[in-house]
Symmetry: C2
Amino acid sequence: MRVAVLGTGVVGRTIGSKLMQLGHEVTMGSRSADNESAGGWASEAGEKAEHGTFEDAAAAGELVFNCTAGTASLEALAAAGADNLSGKLLIDVSNPLDFSGGFPPSLSVMGDDSLAEQIQRAHPDGRVVKTLHTMNCAVMVDPGRLSGDHDVFVCGDDDGAKAQVSELLQSFGWPAGSVVDLGELSAARGTEAYVLLWVRLYGAFSTGDLNIKVVR
Amino acid sequence: MRVAVLGTGVVGRTIGSKLMQLGHEVTMGSRSADNESAGGWASEAGEKAEHGTFEDAAAAGELVFNCTAGTASLEALAAAGADNLSGKLLIDVSNPLDFSGGFPPSLSVMGDDSLAEQIQRAHPDGRVVKTLHTMNCAVMVDPGRLSGDHDVFVCGDDDGAKAQVSELLQSFGWPAGSVVDLGELSAARGTEAYVLLWVRLYGAFSTGDLNIKVVR
């Protein structure tokens, strides 16, 4: 499948490379067509790796990963173009982290709204699913690197889109039983807020190689 | 030890009863000395169970549990009296849940502040430790009711106070290795925000009998 990965940071490059390893064709999108990080990634990732603008990538992709910084996501998706997102699965991996006060960050949207919902409102014809953003990217694409079971959350308003994401997550190495469907997209208010706990866990354990498991 | 439990809701009554079972003497505090819930609890909880106003309870207690609703906590602690809290361990179990928009709730403070820090600022001579508020009260006092290990978070600016809380949590049944010290009190920004995820987990699993474990 041709996948658009928006964002050339470590999250985008890691997910892009995982998708390439799984046999997908990836177009990485960034603000400018000559982005060095995207170019370097594409030259290493294989023959079927492409890169271009957000618009180029979104036009090429059958599904779209938003791996841009949360504070830049709405702008990046606007640049990608509503028509290029219409009807497509839009997997939102971003976090609305606000580092203006230093580390640990706050969130630029929280409480009775979420970045995922803002994205969905801006692109009502896209099928937004929020997932994977509650861990670092090494864990996203290699859940087995941690010792023991742990969970990945999924939420969105389109059940078919969530089912497609669940399959993709399983191809990443997530056991079906570790994919926790939290329901509608507004559940992203919870998963995005959780990231404020994640940064404290990162501080307490001096590693981002961690995640949580729901125990009942 | 004589313990003050502020708040007569299910959290306060459950923690109060657990403390009584462990041999402590509990004074439950509420807005008025003739609170029916506190009176009913005290008559069932045993001879050494007392109840009175927030001020009565805080004056009697060597340590103080804040089990009031988060939106009422600052007022309740003000009524308890700064002098009655000075130098004492103040265990904050409250959540700043805002139900004005219905269920699921939002938070009345979040992001770059927390209710725990607001309480500490209002009572600089108290030794505030935030803990236990990331689960329902049945799990707080009986962690073994869930299948498998899971964690309780502790944060605060006074290491001695946190050590005392860790011992108390172990007396509640928490293994020492499940007590996760997140550092300074500002980490409550993370644990309080997590509660927005907890309410979604509650919805997804149709039970509050759950908690999380940090997996590395």
